[in-house]
Amino acid sequence: MTSAAPLADGLPATSPEADLLVEVEKLTLRFGGLTSLSQVSLTQRRGEILSVIGPNGAGKTSLFNCLTGVYTPQEGRIVFHRRDGRDISVVGVRPHRVNRFGIARTFQTSRLFNALTTFENVKIGVESRSRTGPLGAILHLPHTRREERAANARVRELLEFVGLTHRAATLASSLPYGDRRRLEIARALGTGPELLLLDEPAAGTNPAEKGDLVDLIRRVNRDRGVSVLLIEHDMGLVMSLAERIVVLNFGQVIATGSPAEIQQNPAVIEAYLGAPEAPAEGAGDVAESGEGA
């Protein structure tokens, strides 16, 4: 297991400047009088598993929604450095365009296409990259058929990867919870992302499913070279997966660092426990606590 190495020092050997994937700079998001994010800055390196944690209402999902184009922040910038060298500003771009740039996501409460099968769910993700237009679809042009065959092969490969091959023909609505989570990840991977945003992937899963999920996220990161930005309340999962952690509280970044550093950080402990005393005991609680504040 190499995952222990980054956990120990927190910083990969490569120069951070050269390998940036996402730069978020002074992001501010307001809903009327409510400030959801205030001057949030963070960076993610290519190939990294970065985790965003924080108590409920800290602005984690808002950050995701800004990153994926669902919300348009009032201030700040988000730059996405693609592998092909293009730098793209994500602010004010519609969600499907963001996805096309290479940022895919899953949702806090999984949003699958429930009346469709597992296979079709993944296929919709894969096919969002196809070029077939209405005429091609009506006339069954050779190009269309080739594209469809390629898409089917890719769906099968993805289902194999997440371990849902045996569920291919099952309706998404009748999948158990852990499988729904995997399917959502497979659908997101189908769009060929460079960055995968996972919004509480372990919420509602049982310990066995959680173990599988940790394994899957690690394989997504390592085997497929997809960088992962993870929101999670389950501290065990965060500590074992994340190379670095960003802590949000009341819409502000209060700490950034390796899991070990975060566990010792007094500001983090205070945010989670709301009490300044007994820091040593508190640190342990952060690591174990399931749902935070």
């Binding site: 669902v70 993700g125 077939t132 009506i138 469809e148």
Partner: protein, 468 residues
Amino acid sequence: MSDPLELTEIPERTVTSAALPPDQRTPWHKVVHNDDVRRLFACVIGGFVLALMTGPEGDGINMLSGVDGALRFPHLGICLALTVGLWVLITVRHRFGERARTASARVSALPARLLPNAKFRGLALVALLALAIVYPAHLNGYWQSVLVQQVGIYVLLAIGLNVVVGYAGLLDLGYIAFFAIGAYSDAFWTGALPIHPPANLNPFWVIPIAIATAMLAGVILGVPTLRLRGDYLAIVTLGFGEIIQIVAINLQGVTGGAIGTGTIRHFALHVLGINYVWGLDPLPYYYLLLVFVVLALFAFHSLEHSRIGRAWAAIREDEIAAEASGINVLKYKVMAFAIGASTSGFAGTLVASQIRFFEPGDFTVQLSILILVLVIFGGMGSLPGAVVGAAVLEWLPQYLHVHPLFGFQQQDLYIYFGAILILMMIFRPEGLIPSRRRRIELGLAEHGIGTADAMTAGASPSEPAGLP
């Protein structure tokens, strides 16, 4: 009460003192507490109301003439038989609900069981097509023209609207406006309007122009309005339908105004030494229509099972997830809208050339609603459903109209359609021949999963991905 049938009980209270059916075991004042008896009451009263509403019109001199005529024997008898039949249905459903449901499920599954593989299904389709080719030639002129003007055209319109409402889940109440655009395109290019075209064309050449015009209108209307959610879209399209009609009435110099168009040319074929003109005889038009309907069916079937059909299904189910999966929601909605619009415009061309004359009064909102009813009746999102729904609902009134026993009057049409729609929503909300996806969506929606509330897929959760 969760049972929607209780609605029909409202008149019951006012007539409890009237003749009560004998029920020996229950004292008279408790009879009404028996649900079956209460429903029977409601149904009998419904029968009288139906008889009155569908009976002959009264006149100013003898005020009661309408009532008199309505309550004569054959008419009243039929109405009562209908409503009491309904009561029997409801009672059976209540008593043997579970068994009735499995029986109906078995009936629904029958086509699938009889036609287990694609080869059989293909054979059945070929047989149906052969019937559609051979049979109409043996009908008399009246029924042939019914086949063209009522059945054929509405089948084409219904499968077009099915793309918009059934596949993409967009509620379009101005569908007939595109029909009008197609019809006026035809009139314009064949020289039947006060303003003259650069060249008088054969209707065959007008078809692509009309399709393109209607599609363009669909895109122009769609791009700004399809950003709106379900209910708003319905209102905008409703308004658009009205605007087109009013423009057609008031733009006299261009459209001929309320008087209507001049005489429109028939279809004619002059290629490769073949000279054929579609005349007043409906049968050649029927075959022309059949060709186009079959082509449209093939095209829409391919679309449904392609990447585009899947994208529509995704949008219908969860717009936010669809966008997050890289689907350009607006583009696919506009695409569905434009495909529906062009089908409608195409049908408009065919009708205009067949009946040779039309006026703005032909394009009422009622017609848009009627086509929507055909689609809902047949089963939204299902091509066989749209075809059968349109064919049955268009053919049946004609049959009942001609048949001496029923003496059905055209102006009552919408009363029956309303009643059919209510019954449909109670007993079979997924439609006559539902599509598999739609049936699953409805089933899930009943269990509170998903947002497939019939047609407003656009009205999915308003809050994107939850506030922090």
